[in-house]
Symmetry: C2
Subunit: 231 residues, 2 copies
């Protein structure tokens, strides 16, 4: 088949990897799902070759697991994995805040503050989605200011894995005010040009996120048990 429509800026396997990533993150392909190579190739209208290359890439990222001769499955993350990853992320994002605080110029702080202002705004009107987006933007900006390629790489790799959990985007549920308070502490560290303080505040912010997630899981497990008893 000929595809003159493709301008081929980026390789096809990369586009496919990205499409799959999004489907995994959105839980259209939940953890444990078997990925049918042939069916997917037909679905995407491509050959198996670039698809298989894409799957290798996703496997290296930890998003899928390739079982020899048994195919490809979306990776399942356990509670233990979360207990291991969050403290790691806390340390790494803390370090990121530390370096960002050291390297930030006055104008960078202004930019960071303007993003923080969005957090304040969305929290005030209770806009969870807006808060979530601004939160992401805040963390992204801190990492940009840290300007450390390898630190960024490691953080992004782990974040991808975290996005495998469905509740990730819901971790703000019921703790908007607490998250905001934590962000104020981070921002205060930056404004005081106190890198160690920014680091600790960011670190604690991440650990707090883990606790919120644990509570959500616990609640869900309880509800699951209740509905199971009812049935």
């Amino acid at each position: 088949m000929n595809h003159p429509a493709r301008i081929a800026q980026t390789a096809l396997y990369q586009e496919v990897a990205e499409r799959l990533r999004q489907r995994i993150f959105s839980h259209e392909l939940p953890p444990g799902t078997w990925i049918d190579e042939q069916a997917l190739a037909v679905d995407y209208g491509i050959s198996r070759t670039p698809l298989r290359e894409a799957l290798k890439v996703l496997a290296a990222e930890g998003l899928v697991t390739l079982k020899p001769r048994r195919g490809c499955y979306v990776t399942e993350i356990s509670e233990r994995d979360l207990d291991e990853i969050f403290p790691l992320m806390a340390m790494l994002e803390g370090r990121s805040a530390f370096e960002a605080s050291q390297k930030a110029k006055a104008e960078d702080l202004i930019r960071l503050e303007s993003i923080h202002a969005l957090l304040e705004k969305y929290a005030a009107i209770g806009d969870k989605e807006g808060f979530f987006d601004a939160n992401q933007e805040f963390h992204r900006t801190v990492q940009e200011l840290a300007d450390n390629r390898w630190l960024l790489q490691v953080i992004q790799d782990l974040r991808k894995v975290l996005k495998l959990t469905r509740l990730h985007s819901l971790s703000l549920e019921g703790r908007l005010q607490q998250s905001l308070a934590e962000h104020r502490a981070i921002m205060a560290g930056f404004k005081a040009r106190d890198a160690a303080r920014a680091e600790k505040a960011m670190h604690d912010h991440l650990l707090s996120g883990r606790e919120a997630l644990a509570r959500l899981y616990a609640r869900e497990a309880a509800e699951g048990a209740r509905s199971a008893k009812a049935a």
Copy 2:
């Protein structure tokens, strides 16, 4: 071509990836080298398909860089990269020592001490190779005791990248005694069951390694300049 000789325990692309890794680590394929897909496929007696898959995996690990439409090159690591990676590694291996110290049982400490005894022995007789191997074993064991899959993963990924630098295995050159002293400090932290102390000692040990490497580079650069002037 048919290959009935292959028993195919692990996938071919994985074997190829491992072979390439070794060739990269040994600097038979030094940083910057172009990897000729077709020639390599012929050389290994395989088709391009699994070779390309292997290259995708290595690219995800950061060992090679895939330039669209221009092929595959062994990644080149800059001084700046080293300045970013070593503090990261120091933090991560420090954390590893922390967790290992917390989780280690009495028998684990005995095992660790027996490896440390090897370091003492090889340092005493000035056996650099033996010291190097025992050193690797020591770090490997600490990470095993930390028993943290994701921490291990991140550390191993970064270590692979560090192995791109030729001087990595020579970083002990002329600092055997210092490295030994640092290891004694780490061991002391473990024996005192003081996780924070083990963490800091391990952290400082890594940073010290970075400094030694920087001195080696500086010396080499000076020699390079001298021989260039002589020519």
